[in-house]
Amino acid sequence: MDWGTLQSVLGGVNKHSTSIGKIWLTVLFIFRIMILVVAAERVWGDEQQDFVCNTLQPGCRNVCYDHFFPISHIRLWALQLIFVSTPALLVAMHVAYTRHEKKRRFRNGEKIDIEELKNERIHIRGPLWWTYTSSIFFRIIFEATFMYVFYYMYDGYQMPRLVKCDAWPCPNTVDCFVSRPTEKTTFTIFMLAVSGICMMLNLAELCYLVIKICMKESGKGA
């Protein structure tokens, strides 16, 4: 999975983020995407091969694996990371639109330094504030949704060692053994903890932005 493209897009947004936003981005790339790519994919790599059932009935193992793991943790995390990163694209689009508007005004004759425009750090105020705040809000919603989906789909966050399966064509209730359950539980809890941290960071950023705008408004009014 090529996460480099995502990194280049989000890197551009990084310039216009608050400090908390930059910390969030760092945590996302190092503690989530990197762990996913370097460690977790290998742990889950042999999940179907080494899913062993105590039966010789052909097809029983396949059916039981599919029943207990409708969507693998790895794919769910990849989806979670993509959904959680997407709102930042809204901010990137807004910034690009603002720049485009400035260039248009430059072409119409207004005096704007075009070189400075490329490197200018656009401050978060006005319509950009709304875009940015709603992107953080959506991020929080997506994080919470995925954490709930994990909990619902796998009955908690622990990977069981033994699952009992009686799906057809298994002739009776069959013992099936999951591969590397302890290691998988460790990584599931780790990723959950980092999701929690990211959500806290997003909440903090949201509060910071709201308080900042309230103080500005009260300053103007006073």
């Binding site: 400090s19 910390i23 290998r42 053994f177 590397r180 302890t182 290691e183 990584f187």
Partner: protein, 370 residues
């Protein structure tokens, strides 16, 4: 190594702002840990479960025995170790970037003051700018003349804390590895766990090769720990030296510009000391009583003192535990207060110098680049 590029890119930036020992530590991390892990260790542990054989036909027995023998694979353990050990450096880098940003904001404010002063006109502009610059340089740890970040004050504290946490993490992971696996892997693992019907012999895949890598990674971890401790000792010693020198130095920390802008109030306290005079004199509040009563002589002394203070400032910037690490992204700014510009990428660890000397006696340009 491509997968490690996320962390690698961040650590490259940290590399620029570290001391010499810090750079050596980062090089060890990149080459002996990340690279070895990514290329060699991964392939050695690749078939760890598929070739984990147990002497039983019982379905599921191999799975559960493997899970009991290796709750977390060595490779994943080392990945987590590298990430957790690198994290404090990222925190330090965040603080350094924040410092740089504060400096940029300060410069913008100065530019605004300049614009305002130019409108109003006034002789006090340069003095104010110098005074503000020098005052905030001391607070922020930013050497405007050299375009470098100086490790002092809160930034030095962050650096020291980051090294302390890094050391603690390193020790924790080494101890953790010992608790989980001991030092060496055995070829034979005897397993008794449901659904295995009885104690079963299980055979680990490639134990000798794995032991070689385990010993290698352990040795590199101990080396990194040693480097961290060496850096701590070095910083701690420098900081203690700074404290000693500060307790002898009793001169006020006012900038020369401010002296010139408020000569009336402070003239009675101005005098022209010989070099190191302030070390001979010690007073509790750091104020010196002028022996001169003649006004003209006093004025001349004020000017002389100001000139000496300017030279003293730039030397003082290099004294004590201040470890300069260059920050290449910043433009070189020529300060109006006549401090010499240092070249970029100039790493310098200065000892206490005589006031007359300008150059460092210990110029170092042998930075390691990864």
């Amino acid at each position: 190594m491509g997968e490690w590029s996320f962390l690698g890119d961040f650590l490259e930036k940290v590399h620029k702002h570290s001391t010499v020992v810090g750079k050596v530590w980062l090089t060890v991390l990149f080459i002996f840990r990340m690279l070895v892990l990514g290329t060699a260790a991964e392939s050695s542990w690749g078939d760890e479960q598929s070739d984990f054989m147990c002497d039983t036909q019982q379905p599921g027995c191999e799975n559960v025995c493997y899970d009991k023998a290796f709750p977390i694979s060595h490779v994943r353990f080392w990945v987590l170790q590298i990430i957790f050990v690198s994290t404090p450096s990222l925190v330090y880098m965040g603080h350094a970037m924040h410092t740089v940003r504060m400096e940029e904001k300060r410069k913008m404010k100065e530019a605004e003051i300049e614009a305002r002063e130019n409108k109003n006109g006034g002789d006090t502009y340069y003095q104010q700018k110098c005074s503000v610059a020098k005052e905030e340089t001391k607070l922020s740890g930013w050497d405007e003349a050299g375009g470098q970040i100086i490790l002092r004050g809160s930034l030095l504290n962050t650096y020291v804390y980051s090294i302390l946490i890094r050391t603690a993490m390193e020790v924790a992971f080494i101890v953790g590895q010992y608790v989980l696996y001991g030092i060496f892997l055995e070829t034979l693992y005897i397993c008794q766990r449901a659904p295995c019907p009885h104690p079963v012999n299980c055979y680990v895949s490639r134990p000798t090769e794995k032991n070689v890598f385990i010993v290698f990674m352990l040795a590199v971890a101990v080396l990194s720990l040693f480097l961290s401790l060496a850096e701590l000792y070095h910083l701690g010693w420098k900081k203690a030296k700074e404290r000693c020198s500060r307790s002898y130095k009793a001169s006020p920390s006012t900038a020369p510009g401010r002296l010139e802008s408020a000569p009336q109030a402070e003239r009675p306290q101005m005098y022209t000391p010989p070099p190191d005079f302030n070390q001979c004199l010690s007073s509790p509040n750091g104020k010196f009583i002028s022996p001169f009563s003649n006004k003209m002589a006093s004025q001349q002394n004020t000017a002389n003192f100001a000139t000496e203070r300017v030279h003293g400032q730039e030397d003082a910037a290099g004294e004590g535990p201040f470890i300069k690490s260059s920050y290449v992204e910043s433009p070189e700014v020529a300060s109006e207060c006549a401090a010499p510009a240092f070249p970029e990428n100039y790493f310098n660890e200065k000892r206490r110098l005589s006031k007359a000397s300008r150059a460092s006696s210990k110029a170092r340009s042998d930075d390691l680049s990864v």
